[in-house]
């Protein structure tokens, strides 16, 4: 877990600055060495948002700050940020330099907060954890240091039909914008009001302020983000319902919706169950019509289609895609690789979840943050038929070596543009199908 790794598929703690960039009109302020922002920008690409990337203020630690500390420099940068940039929320993130030097950023930020500034501090030195974990640190810090200031106007659990949703990690999940939008659309189909908190479907900081009002929380994740749900339960007594992976296609989307529906009813939400069930039925029907129409192609296309897949992704996508491809597309998941550095305590439940995918086959599952090693393992494997690899840009070269089909669906990937596409939900399943077979058919010239 802590050894040398090749081809990292995630970045360090300060990468969670992208969770700030994903909040409309919020700005990350980096108290870090000069390259941190550029590294994160380079990892995610096309990820500047409102005030990320080259716009983000940064103290750019030099030798002087390393020796004497950087608090004065940070004070100056924050003060002038208010003059130069028009932002609704400022989140100060520390890098390795500030972390090792031991600057007391929390106290400084508290001074600014005392002057009425909407500002938050989070410790995110790169050696602390990766961005999957740091996302929760950022969100919890905003809840504690910002949302907490507005309790008077936002009574705890005062809206029965409102939920906070925690699912895709901004930017680390290339489809985060589309996914969050689709979860929102689906749950609103029941009559719920959904705070997605990040991206264009969020109302920005006004939505964050209303987090306490929610009746309960929805967590869609194999492991990351769970500390947020735990924190809110502790802080506001909001219970949460936990779906273990991204639901892709009809089976899992329906299971997800029914789980949330049942939970909402248990929690006393004002929902007409018959309407909700009808909504799910209509969604499924529209999906099934497409699959019905497509089946002949999947079954009969004589020039070759992939029959098995290796996925290198985070745990949520490995679970979601494996189940979907097996049951709803007919591509058999062979060895699967989870490359998100899943903490050990979650690994057993993720394995158990994958076992539910099939009672007649065992899908080998390997947790391996060293994606270079995962690739080497795939190089040694051989299965009959045409293979498909789903992973990050790094895996395009692997697929070429193995003469497999390839779908870029994970960070980092310079080979694919994703804007607001979703892979979650019924429509997400259809889009995965389009993308896979689009790539396959493009090989015929």
């Amino acid at each position: 877990m802590s050894g040398i790794i090749e081809q990292e598929r995630y970045t360090c703690a300060i990468g969670a600055l992208q969770s700030v960039v994903a909040i409309p009109k919020a700005v990350p302020i980096l108290h870090s060495g000069p390259g941190c922002g550029t590294m994160i920008q380079g990892f995610f690409e096309r990820s500047t948002g409102y005030a990320g990337g080259s716009t983000s203020p940064c103290t750019n630690f030099s030798e002087r700050e390393v020796v004497f500390g950087g608090i004065q420099r940070l004070r100056q940068i924050i003060t002038n940020t208010y003059k130069v940039l028009d932002t609704d929320l400022q989140v100060v993130l520390t890098g390795c330099t500030a972390g090792i030097v031991g600057d007391d950023v929390a106290s400084l930020v508290e001074e600014f907060r005392g002057e009425g500034r909407p500002i938050v501090a989070v410790e995110t030195p790169g050696f602390k954890c990766n961005n999957f974990e740091a996302h929760s640190l950022v969100v919890n810090a905003i809840i504690d240091q910002y949302v907490g200031l507005f309790h008077d106007q936002n009574p705890v659990r005062s809206e029965k039909n409102t939920v906070n949703l925690f699912a895709s990690l901004p930017y680390q999940d290339p489809f985060w914008k589309g996914n969050l939008g689709e979860y929102k659309r689906l749950l609103e189909g029941f009559g719920l009001k959904v705070h997605v908190l990040f991206g264009p479907k969020s109302e920005g900081i006004s939505e964050w302020k209303e987090i306490p009002r929610a009746n309960f929380n929805v967590l869609v994740s194999p492991w990351y983000g769970q500390p947020i749900a735990e924190h809110l339960e502790e802080r506001y007594g909001q219970p949460y319902t936990w779906f273990p992976h991204i639901p892709i296609g009809a089976n899992e989307s329906e299971r997800f919706l029914r789980q949330v529906l049942n939970f909402a009813v248990e929690q006393g939400a004002d929902i007409d169950e018959a309407v909700a069930v009808e909504f799910i039925r209509r969604e499924r029907e529209a999906y099934c019509q497409e699959i019905d129409n497509l089946a002949v192609f999947l079954l009969e296309f004589r020039y070759g289609l992939p029959n098995h897949v290796h996925i290198l992704h985070d745990a949520g996508y490995v679970l979601g895609l494996s189940k979907f491809l097996l049951h709803e597309v007919g591509i058999i998941p062979k060895e699967q690789f989870i490359v998100d550095n899943t903490p050990e305590k979650f690994q057993e439940q993720i394995k158990a979840e994958l076992k539910t995918a099939s009672d007649k086959r065992d899908i080998p599952l390997i947790f391996e943050p060293d994606a270079g090693k995962a690739q080497d393992a795939i190089r040694e494997l051989s299965h009959s038929g045409r293979g498909l690899i789903i992973g990050s840009g790094w895996d395009k070269e692997l697929a070429k070596e193995k003469h497999d089909d390839f779908l870029s669906a994970a960070a980092p990937s310079p080979y694919r543009l994703v804007l607001t596409t979703n892979y979650a939900g019924f429509s997400g399943g259809l889009r995965v199908i389009e993308d896979i077979y689009g790539a396959v058919l493009a090989t015929y010239r």
Binding site: G35, C36, S54, K83, L85, C96, K128, P414
Partner: protein
């Protein structure tokens, strides 16, 4: 006099070695003059994310065909290197690499406990593992802020590994906090390469010239062929072996003097390869000088004159025709130091008026100490002064402010991200990544055609500007661009 010292493990940073600066507001001529009398840097009381030495150091070693690279630090410090893997693959046809192999890039993935107990053992184990997994012909170890501050003895670890593994294991000291001039990262890699990889020449090869460059198009092969010589492109797409014998070339030329400054000087000083001091061939006047310098070095002065005459006969009339169309248009340039000076020369050649420039840093002189290599001085001499000359290490807020005031007809950029702001203001913006594209007489024409096309096809930027999101405050846009720049330059 020379600051090249291969006896020590780390390179002296540019601020100390060359007296390079990252803060200045004035005119180009003023900057050139002050550069000769002890230029002083200015600090900023507001700043945005800079580039970092490690990325610059990394690109010069990751693209070596048969080496492996280890970033000694937390996993984030190598996050953007996948972009170089992409570059290597995509540009390989330009350098005749038919089967580009996967780049071998690792991180020692330092954790919190390593910052307490040190990461040296992890690095030592890591180097052996990388060797076993990839069998490289050399391993490069890039240091980071965390590794530097906790005080890991990277040099000793690499030395020991080198003895054991019998391949070069090169420590490159490029911690981001050490320098505000991120081109120091290039120097760091070159320093390691010159110390550990390059071998004393066995003979002098009169048919090979080193070209220190990035990964641009191969224009030098054709130019050199006229003189019966071939380019040895370094360091991208070179091999450990071809780098080792770069000491045998007859000369070294620079594609960008700020890039190759240190390696050019090291090759001359330590290995006896003369560096052609003439600044790279951008603009007619400088292209004349460059070909003549090349001819002198190769003792083929007449050949050089023939070539200059033939190329001028072919291209000057075309450039003149293009100039008619671009006459009196205004331009603003934002780029790294060397290439920014080049673009300023070219736009004058094309009849455009330079309204100003924002360049990322300034080296008063390069490591060779020669005024001949100073592209900005040549530019001022050949075409006159440039007003609104701003040195800012990619401080976007200053650029936005300046562009908003000057509103040029076109923004010419090199380095990602900056064209966005031209476009948001409705200014047609052009970025050419390939630094060889605008070289030579033919390059002026090529570049001019792209400028014309950019100015003519402005529908996209005009539309973009209508709906552009702007996070900068009205207050800031009404201040002078150097509001946050303090200190005083030498008088």
């Amino acid at each position: 006099m020379s600051q090249v010292n291969l006896q020590v493990p780390d390179v002296a940073i540019r601020e100390i070695r060359l007296n390079s600066i990252t803060g200045f507001q004035g005119s180009a001529e003023e900057l050139v003059q002050r550069s000769r009398c002890g230029l002083k840097d200015k600090n900023r009381s507001f700043s945005q994310c800079l580039g970092c030495s490690v990325s610059q150091a990394a690109c010069m070693v990751i693209l070596i065909q048969d080496a492996a690279v280890i970033s000694h630090g937390p996993v984030g410090c190598s996050s953007c290197y996948h972009e170089y893997a992409f570059t290597y693959r995509v540009n390989s046809p330009l350098r005749g690499v038919e089967k580009p192999t996967q780049r071998k890039i690792f991180s020692t993935n330092l954790q919190e406990t390593d910052t307490v107990y040190g990461g040296a053992q992890k690095l030592a184990d890591g180097i052996r593992e990388v060797h076993q997994r990839t069998r490289p012909n050399a391993v490069f170890v890039l240091t980071t802020c965390a590794a530097g501050i906790i005080g890991d003895d990277t040099e000793s670890v690499c030395k020991e590994a080198e003895l054991e593994l019998q391949i070069p294991v090169v420590a490159i000291f490029c911690e981001g906090f050490r320098s505000k001039v991120w081109t120091t990262g290039f120097d760091a890699s070159y320093h390691g390469i010159a110390r550990k990889l390059i071998k004393p020449a066995r003979k002098r090869r009169t048919d090979v010239i080193n070209v220190i460059n990035f990964w641009g198009s191969d224009i030098f092969s054709e130019w050199f062929a006229a003189f019966g010589v071939k380019p040895n492109y370094i360091t991208p797409y070179s091999t450990v072996e071809s780098l080792a014998w770069s000491s045998e070339a007859i000369a070294t030329v620079q594609a960008c003097p700020t890039l190759g400054s240190y390696l050019g000087a090291a090759l001359e000083q330590e290995y006896g390869v003369p560096e052609i001091k003439a600044a790279p061939p951008y603009g007619v006047a400088q292209t004349d000088r460059w070909f003549r310098a090349l001819g002198r070095t190769l003792h083929q002065e007449e050949r050089a004159e023939e070539l200059i005459a033939a190329k001028k006969a072919e291209y000057l009339p075309k450039i003149a025709a293009l100039r008619q169309k671009l006459q009196r248009k205004t331009a603003f340039v934002t780029a790294g130091a060397g290439h920014g000076h080049a673009l300023l020369s070219i736009l004058s050649e094309l009849g455009l008026q330079a309204k100003g420039a924002a360049l990322f840093h300034h080296d008063p002189l390069y490591d060779n100490g020669s005024e001949e290599s100073d592209l900005l001085a040549q530019r001022v001499k050949d075409y006159g002064d440039v007003p609104n000359f701003n040195i800012c290490n990619k401080q976007e807020f200053e650029l936005v402010n300046t562009l908003n005031r000057l509103r040029p007809d076109v923004l010419l950029a090199r380095h990602g991200g900056m064209t966005l702001w031209g476009s948001k203001l409705g200014i047609p913006s052009l970025l050419i990544g390939d630094e060889h594209f605008s070289m030579g007489y033919e390059g002026i024409l090529r570049y001019g055609e792209r400028i014309l096309e950019t100015i003519e096809n402005d529908e996209f930027v005009k539309n973009l500007a209508k709906h552009a999101v702007n996070p900068y405050t009205k207050w800031w846009l009404s201040q002078e661009p150097d509001t946050f720049l303090d200190g005083s330059p030498c008088e």
